[in-house]
């Protein structure tokens, strides 16, 4: 199930990354090497009937989704939260024009 160069380009797009052609080539080689040699053995194990373990404590205890009371517990300081934003104006984040 080796990846092709065009699949790497598609994955990079899905990941919102822009590797150069040389980086794409290196990525392809590393991914195929790792998956062919090290990930492939996973497929040989019979996992029929095994429940996936998405969070580790679920192996030893029930992990119900906790709910809290529907009450205001903290006040958000918008100026503090936006202090590290690259571009804001009047409390709004600036992005390139989305709708022409």
């Amino acid at each position: 199930m080796s990846l092709t160069p065009s699949e790497v380009v598609r994955l990079a797009h899905l990941a919102r990354l822009q590797p150069t052609p040389a980086e794409q080539q290196a990525l392809l080689a590393t991914l195929n090497g790792f998956f062919d040699h090290h990930v492939a053995p996973m497929g040989a194990v019979d996992t029929t009937g095994v429940e996936p373990l998405y969070t580790p404590l679920a192996a030893v205890q029930a992990m119900p989704l906790r709910l809290r009371e529907d009450a205001v517990t903290e006040v958000v300081d918008r100026n503090a939260n936006q202090a590290s934003a690259p571009a804001v104006q009047d409390g709004l984040y600036l992005v390139p024009r989305v709708i022409e």
């Binding site: 990941a15 590393t30 194990v45 906790r66 390139p96």
Partner: protein
């Protein structure tokens, strides 16, 4: 005092502060001066431990600690200086996670771990270097500069909590926080000859920890003894409603648990009755002879203390590598999608449309290892591959956890083995092949996947006088027992007291 202040650990400093032999302000000043002398930020002779230091902010915290003591407060950590891995967000220091993406970022809040340690009176010395977003096991993936192993500056200190290990080993800080996703506390602790504990998943809050792989990330302590780890872990752990996977348990006194004698123990045999399991898969032929030799010495010391060594098997140990390197990148690709060049973090200039802004900002902001893992994660979660890779890995994760449960139910109380297959390697030696680093994580990944507590305890020295760590793995929530075993070993041996020149 005959011993220099920087040589004292957390417990000893707590006593010196309580008896007013030293003030928090003097102590902070001493360690800041030592940091300035030994850790200037570039050049091959620098340790590269700290990414951010702010003497004024540190001294202000120290004065507050002294004031609290003057007001009648006490406590083993009041005025004790520590440093934080730059993965924990802090209001008073910038937080970068070792990434250009977050260069200069200031958090509007403190992580729960930081907040709780501050409440206990600790004074923050600064923020410590790490692999970018905690992805790496050498600290070479820091976007700023590599941290260097104080035992040999040409070698890596391990990672991702490399700066934490360096600061503690080089006596720049008595203790530091770290985080461990697949070994990031245990492996650098082993490579730098210090004591590190990764508690059970859920023991420390993840709130305010820059997320890498949320089902694996766990905070912990790196210090010079099990006792110091116990003191800090007690203060920083506990239930936090702001973390959806925080374990709902009452606060724990880990120092008391560490000191509590076992049934049937005696002064000379404090570990009487303890069964230590040695997985055959943790001692393969490929394990470096020097590491194996040091471990056998430590295991013999544990036997002398009354423990019994038993053979066990963790048959899916080798599979932990692909399982981890499917699950962790999958979670990383999701977590790191938040870095979009809009709300915080790096924004590429100039840029075209919104898509171009995203792609350029992320490609410029993330380093090669992070990009590699994001692409791997995107791959294993993508349509057509999800079942074969991601779902299969989560099923195997259950089988790996079950293997541990079986060992603990039938054979042993604690599992022991190496932390890493070799001692610390040379900086640059493996940078051509990232997969080499992945494979070297083999002994730390299984406990991470199962969410079990793990420690690295100094176990002597291997090739070129470099430290070797003994890994101890316990049942879920058995931190107290691991600390008890490590403490017993440290009462009988002096490996943990050796320091680099």
């Amino acid at each position: 005092m005959s011993t220099e202040l920087h040589d004292l650990g957390v417990a000893a400093l707590g006593q010196a502060l309580a008896s007013r032999q030293v003030s928090a302000t003097e102590l902070a000043g001493t360690l800041l001066a030592r940091q300035a002398a030994l850790d200037s930020q570039c050049g091959p002779s620098s340790l590269g431990a700290y990414l951010a230091v702010d003497a004024e902010a540190t001294l202000a915290q120290a004065r507050r600690a002294d004031q609290r003591r003057a007001d009648g407060e006490s406590g083993p950590l009041l005025g004790v200086p520590i440093a934080h891995k730059d993965i924990f967000v802090t209001r008073d220091w910038p937080t970068t996670a070792g990434s250009k993406m977050l260069a200069g970022y200031r958090s509007p809040f403190d992580a729960t771990v930081v907040e709780r340690l501050a409440a206990a009176g600790t004074v923050t010395l600064g923020k410590l270097n790490c692999d970018e977003f905690a992805m790496g096991s050498s600290n070479e993936h820091s976007a700023f500069f590599p941290a260097r192993n104080p035992w040999d500056l040409s070698r890596i200190p391990g990672g991702s909590s490399g700066g934490s290990a360096v600061a503690v080993a080089a006596r720049l800080a008595p203790a530091a926080t770290g985080t461990d996703t697949g070994g990031s506390i245990r492996q650098p602790a082993a490579f730098c000859g210090i004591t590190g504990i990764k508690p059970t998943y859920g023991v420390c809050s993840r709130y305010g920890m820059v997320a890498f792989a949320s089902s694996l990330d766990q905070a912990g302590v790196m210090a010079r003894s099990a006792e110091d780890c116990a003191l800090l872990l007690g203060a920083m752990s506990g239930f936090d409603e702001r973390d959806a996977t925080s374990a709902e348990r009452p606060p724990q006194d880990y120092r008391a648990q560490m000191l509590a004698p076992r049934d049937g123990a005696s002064a000379s045999r404090p570990l009487a009755g303890l069964r230590i399991g040695l997985p055959a898969e943790f001692f393969p032929p490929a394990l470096a002879a020097d590491v194996n030799g040091a471990l056998r010495g430590a295991l013999a010391a544990l036997e002398k203390l009354g423990a019994t060594l038993v053979d066990v098997s963790l048959p899916r140990t080798a599979l932990a590598i692909p399982v981890y390197y499917v699950i962790a990148p999958a979670e990383a690709s999701s977590n790191l999608s938040r870095f979009d060049g809009v709300r915080y973090g790096h924004r590429a200039e100039p840029h075209g449309d919104l898509m171009d802004l995203y792609k350029k900002s992320r490609s410029e902001g993330f380093g090669p290892e992070v990009q590699r893992r994001i692409v791997i994660g995107t791959y294993v979660l993508s349509h057509g591959y999800y079942d074969a890779y991601y779902l299969q890995a989560q099923k195997l994760r259950r089988m790996i956890a079950d293997d541990f449960s079986r060992c603990f139910a039938e054979r042993c109380d604690v599992i022991a083995g190496p932390v890493a297959p070799s001692v610390a390697w040379k900086i640059g030696e493996r940078s051509d092949d990232p997969v080499q680093d992945y494979l070297a994580d083999i002994f730390t990944l299984p406990a991470s996947l199962a969410g079990l507590p793990g420690m690295s305890v100094p176990a002597g020295f291997g090739e070129a006088g470099l430290p070797v760590g003994l890994q101890l793995i316990g049942r879920h929530f058995a931190e107290g027992q691991l600390l008890h075993v490590a403490h017993a070993l440290q009462q009988a041996t002096d490996w943990h007291l050796r320091s680099p020149k």
